[in-house]
Each structure stands twice: as structure tokens, then as C-alpha cells.
């Protein structure tokens, strides 16, 4: 059984992060932007897990749990904001939010 190189894991994390970043930059729909941020957070967590299993330490997994908590809190607040924006502006266009004026 051959071991997996660390570079392959980090490359997977990099590719997933890049895909999320492209989606954040390209999309105008705020729900899609939120989904893309989730993809990016997950890729960052994957890099932590790869590093943690490289050194056989639990610290990487602990960091992933913290990232998971942060993602859960972020998505709940983000979805509440999306509901408010859709309620007030009747659109999911992120550009329309500059008309809110506080």
C-alpha cells in the first residue's frame, strides 16, 4: 500500500479554493456567493486536515471543528441577511444592495 503524497491533498484544497473564488468573483446572485464562500471554507479546512494527518497530530482536526463552527454561524447570519435583502429589494442581485443607504 503506497502512501498518499501531501502535495496531492494540498493541490485538491487549492483547486477547490480556486473554484470557490472564481464563483464568488463571477456570480451576482447573493445565495450563490454564500455557497461559494462555503466551498472556500471547506477547502481551507481540508488543507488543515491534510497538514494534521501529515504530522499525526489532532490540531488540524481541532482547527477544522473551529472552521465548521464559524461556517455554521456565518451561514445562519448570512441567510437572515439574504431574507432581509430579498424582502426589502425584491431581488437577489448583490449590486442592488448599494441602494439601501444604511
Amino acid at each position: 500500500m503506497k502512501a498518499i503524497p501531501v502535495e496531492a491533498g494540498l493541490l485538491l484544497a487549492g483547486i477547490l479554493f480556486m473554484l470557490g473564488l472564481i464563483s464568488v468573483l463571477v456570480r451576482r446572485n447573493i445565495i450563490f456567493m454564500l455557497i461559494s464562500v462555503e466551498i472556500m471554507l471547506n477547502a481551507a479546512g481540508l488543507a488543515f486536515i491534510v497538514a494534521g494527518s501529515k504530522w499525526m497530530q489532532p490540531d488540524g482536526q481541532v482547527m477544522f471543528i473551529f472552521i465548521l463552527t464559524m461556517a455554521a454561524a456565518e451561514v445562519s447570519v448570512g441567510l437572515a441577511l439574504i431574507l432581509q435583502i430579498y424582502h426589502q429589494l425584491k431581488t437577489l442581485d448583490s449590486d442592488a444592495a448599494n441602494k439601501m443607504n444604511g
Binding site: 491533498g9 480556486m18 450563490f32 481541532v62 455554521a72 454561524a73
Partner: protein, 175 residues
Amino acid sequence: MNATFYIASAVAILATIMVITRYNIVHALLYLVVSFLAIAVVFYILGAPFIAALEVIVYAGAIVVLIIFVIMMLNLKKESVEQEEKWITKKVWVGPVILCTILLVELVYILATSDETVIQDKEVDSKAVGMALYGPYVIGVELCGLLLMAGIVGAYHLGRQKKKVVHRFLEKEEE
């Protein structure tokens, strides 16, 4: 073990590409579930079974279901898909894709020129994670609790007005 890692990685990347190219949000979310499950398999192969379970439960379970519920509340029609098709033109996506691909190629170059190191084929079990979590990282756990509390209060405060409207609407429907 090696082949399963690469197959799961390929599935994760393909599913993520499908997520970022869909026009319909629900289709994108279903592909997102596939992507998260593939990444959970990767976690399991890398020797983190506890994190693999958390990935399935929290990401593929809780977070995606939360987003699906919000989409159901928004009641998006076919127009939103057409709007999305209008927004994503070739002129819009070419620039970011080229720039991000350049960054990725640089990352590949850096990883390819570094010395190859391998991951040991031994798992870090949930007991070790728990000992670390409630040992040196206990202050982080408390801060996480605080963050989740702030998230709940913030979501309630921000979503309150909308919730009332939905409630009244449902009552009207029932009459």
C-alpha cells in the same frame, strides 16, 4: 487506498465545477452535497474519521438543508434562472477564470518543486481530538460557543421582520 483518494478527489472537483456552473440554485445545492460527501471520503482516507462524520452531518446535512429552506421561503420562480443566465456572460467569467488559473498554476509549480513528503497511513482517532479540544484548546471551544450564541441572536434579530410576514401570509392562506 491511493486510488480511492484520487477517485474521491476527482468526484469532489467535478461536483464543485458543476456547482459553480449551474444556473438553478437547487441543482447547484444538490451537486454541493455530492462534493461534500466526496470530501468526507477524502477525510476518512486521510485518517480523520471523526471529521468525516462531522462533514456529512453538519455540512451536507445542516448547512445545505438550511440554504434549501431559505430558497423554499424565497419561492424563486423560473425568472431567477433566466436572470442568472443573463448575468453570467462570457465577458464576465473569462477574466476571473484566467487570473485564478494563473494563481493555481503557480501553486502547482511550488508544490511540484518542493520535496515530496507522504502522509502516514495511521488515523488520528476521535479520542485524541477530544483530548486536544478540551485540553489546550478549551478557550477556543468557549469562544466557539460564544460565536454560535451570537449567530443565533443575530439570525433571529435580522430575520424577525420577514418571519412575521411569512406567518401572516400563511394565516391568510388558511382562512
